[in-house]
């Protein structure tokens, strides 16, 4: 049993009781979400958690493992989403179309990532950060301008394959009191593919390739001297991350049956991903899992709490504004800065040191 687990997790074990417990809770809750938390809103939240875990994990491949900052991750996310969306909006809504759109989206994402990487990574990492920011914002504007193809600001609405539509029934009878309709099938599609992608990324980072990436992150100069072409390795990492982000985009597009600039390309999403990876813990896929989960839950439920607090302080002028639910990014931004300074290993690092203390004591 433990050998199987080791193999599945690519030998990268949580190394902390608390972390393992948190991960088990997340995976079990997501696996049983339709049964544990019925209702449209909670299923929506569960899908977002799955998709953003993939997105954050793929981003961590760049930020945590390779040590490069990209601001174009949502662009690749969007390319995947738009790939499927455009295909489904123009062709018949069947699985062949989904495959075509997915392939096209992933291919474009990888080619674009390779181009940007070869262009900017050979100069300095700081170039990469700036250039990805510029390219991503140009892409977002382009997507909203080319409304003939992308639907502009409104985005695209389209039909998905029949098995994913609400009217579809997988079984005649309910299972544990839940009707297994197309939405539930779609949810499990998202869940299974996300799980597979995360495990695949764990395989990548724990492979010899991943170790070279980390060697480059620690000392690019030295890695180059030993004979590794750092540009090539970083570019490949950036291509893998782009492909995974595009896949996440595909999943969200299939779930939402709508793809637009605000669901895929907006800079706010980029900020969310950054927060997830840094707060969860850079340089470990588990950090992305925790960060994405915590942030999506906070986004959906913390804001309610803030709204209550804001009302309670309505008499105090500035404080009420500070606690306004729309200002939740303010608090997360502060948390983000504190994390970078004081807890660069994020939640995962905290949990691991907690575990180390309890087992030592």
């Amino acid at each position: 049993m433990s050998a199987v687990l080791r193999a599945v997790l690519s030998d990268d074990l949580p190394r902390s009781r608390w972390l393992a417990a948190a991960l088990i809770v997340i995976v079990v809750a997501l696996a049983l979400a339709p049964f544990l938390f019925p209702g449209a809103k909670s299923l929506n939240v569960a899908v977002k958690i799955c998709v953003f875990i993939v997105l954050a994990a793929s981003y961590d491949l760049l930020l945590g493992y390779t040590g490069i900052v990209s601001f174009a991750h949502t662009m690749f996310f969007g390319i995947g989403g738009y790939g499927v969306a455009i295909a489904l909006a123009r062709l018949s809504p069947d699985w062949g179309t989904v495959a075509l759109g997915t392939l096209a989206g992933v291919a474009i994402a990888v080619v674009l990532a390779a181009l940007i990487g070869l262009f900017s990574l050979r100069v300095r990492t700081i170039f990469f950060a700036m250039i990805t920011l510029a390219v991503a914002s140009a892409f977002a504007i382009l997507a909203s301008q080319l409304s003939g193809i992308t639907g502009g600001e409104d985005g695209l609405n389209y039909r998905v394959p029949e098995a994913l539509r609400p009217a579809f029934r997988l079984f005649d009878a309910d299972v544990l009191g839940v009707t297994i309709n197309g939405r539930i099938v779609a949810y499990y599609l998202v869940f299974v593919v996300s799980l597979a992608l995360v495990l695949a990324m764990m395989r990548v980072v724990n492979s010899p390739f991943g170790r070279v990436l980390m060697a480059i992150r620690e000392n690019a100069f030295r890695a180059e001297a030993i004979g590794y072409r750092t540009v090539v390795y970083r570019t490949i990492a950036s291509c893998i991350a782009a492909a995974a982000a595009a896949m996440a985009g595909v999943l969200l597009a299939l779930w939402l049956r709508h793809t637009g600039p605000d669901t895929t390309l907006s800079f706010d999403l980029m900020v969310d991903i950054l927060l997830m990876v840094v707060i969860g813990g850079m340089g470990t896929i588990y950090g992305a899992v925790l960060g994405a989960t915590v942030l999506i839950l906070a986004q959906n439920y913390l804001q309610d709490a803030m709204a209550a607090a804001s009302q309670a302080t309505a008499g105090v002028p500035l404080l009420a504004n500070l606690l306004h639910p729309d200002r939740w990014l303010l608090w997360l931004g502060l948390l983000f800065i504190l994390c970078v300074y004081f807890f660069p290993t994020g939640i995962v690092g905290r949990l691991r040191s907690l575990g180390a203390r309890t087992s030592a004591g």
Binding site: L133, I141, L329
Partner: protein, 338 residues
């Protein structure tokens, strides 16, 4: 002397001033004339492009210098621009009657304190930002990018807390409205003002950099800050000074931009940052001259392309950047580093 023949080597005859990048600007202006067709529109577009370019230069110059000097790239620079825009807008709104007056002098009496307040507050914020956000992460690029980005997020939210989440509209005072009409050419007055302010900032910066001891220190520090320390100067003080001045200029740029757009939103900083990054990449990180040329190119290209093919206007700047990096991978004027 021991040996004159050896010490007498003439220096290499290569171009003492590298002027090829400078020629790009007039070349672009000339080439675009037949493309645009009408000389009147061409002139209007050229002035608009120069105005936009110079405003971007004012905002970008401090960023490129702090990078050159201390290898610090502040992704939160946009916050100073936004603060400048909001402060200027608030002051001008508070001076409503003077702003609406038909007297040029009353107009200026409203605009001048607004701009000064914008610069003062942005500069002060820059000082705090340097202390709290930037100082602890010297020499660590990854953390620098993350932390300054975090600073931008927080600053943008705080702006919304103070000024509310909605955009503020303001109207330019009468003296700065309208256009000079020369024949069939219309040139907006405000653009002329923006060009003038931008040129004044550029010339003043060049004078300070080439004629004063502080300027020498900055230029030497951009090349090799360690050697400047070894000569007995505290480079950190110079850096903080440049950071504050750069932030104040960003505030000035924000105020100019706010008057140009006649609206202010908290996202203004993040929006302009994209253009600023393109400009300093094109110019060569750390070079003020390169930043100037890059800003003019970006402003002109944006206006010409915006006229010829509006849908791809912002893409055109990315293309410009790609072309220039293909020609010079480090930008137009790469800064000599030790």
């Amino acid at each position: 002397m021991t040996d004159a023949s050896i010490t007498d080597n003439p220096p290499p005859v290569q171009a003492r001033r590298d002027i090829a990048p400078l020629l790009l600007v007039p070349a672009l202006v000339i080439v675009s004339l037949p493309l645009v067709g009408s000389p009147a529109s061409w002139l209007t577009l050229t002035v608009a492009g120069l105005a936009m370019g110079l405003m971007i230069f004012v905002m970008a110059s401090g960023l490129t210098l702090t990078f050159g000097l201390m290898d610090v790239l502040n992704f939160g620079h946009g916050a100073f621009i936004a603060v400048g825009a909001f402060v200027a807008a608030s002051v001008m709104l508070a001076m409503g009657p003077w702003m609406a007056s038909d007297s040029l002098w009353l107009n200026l009496a409203a605009v001048a304190p607004a701009v000064l307040a914008a610069m003062a507050l942005s500069g002060a914020l820059g000082w705090g930002f340097e202390r709290v956000i930037v100082k602890p992460v010297y020499g660590q690029h990854l953390k620098q990018i993350l932390v300054t980005m975090g600073g931008l997020i927080v600053a943008e939210q705080l702006l919304k807390v103070v000024w509310g989440p909605d955009q503020i509209t303001l109207t330019r005072p009468p003296a700065l409205r309208g256009a000079f009409i020369i024949g069939d050419v219309a040139i907006e007055k405000y653009r002329v003002l923006a060009v003038a302010v931008g040129l004044v900032v550029f010339v003043a910066m060049q004078l300070v950099l080439s004629r004063t001891r502080i300027g020498l220190l900055v230029r030497a520090g951009v090349e090799n800050s360690e050697m400047v320390e070894a000569l007995g100067y505290r480079i950190r003080r110079v850096f903080v000074g440049v950071f504050v001045v750069g932030s104040a200029l960003a505030g000035l740029g924000g105020a100019l931009w706010a008057l140009y757009q006649e609206t202010v939103t908290a996202a203004i900083g993040a929006q302009v940052m994209v253009l600023i990054f393109i400009v300093i990449i094109i110019g060569g990180l750390g070079s003020v001259g390169g930043c100037f040329v890059g800003a003019l190119l970006v402003g002109l290209v944006a206006n010409y392309v915006g006229f010829l093919a509006p849908k791809v206007a912002l893409g055109s700047n990315i293309l410009l950047m790609a072309l220039i990096l293909l020609w010079r991978p480090q930008g137009l004027y790469p800064v000599a580093k030790r």
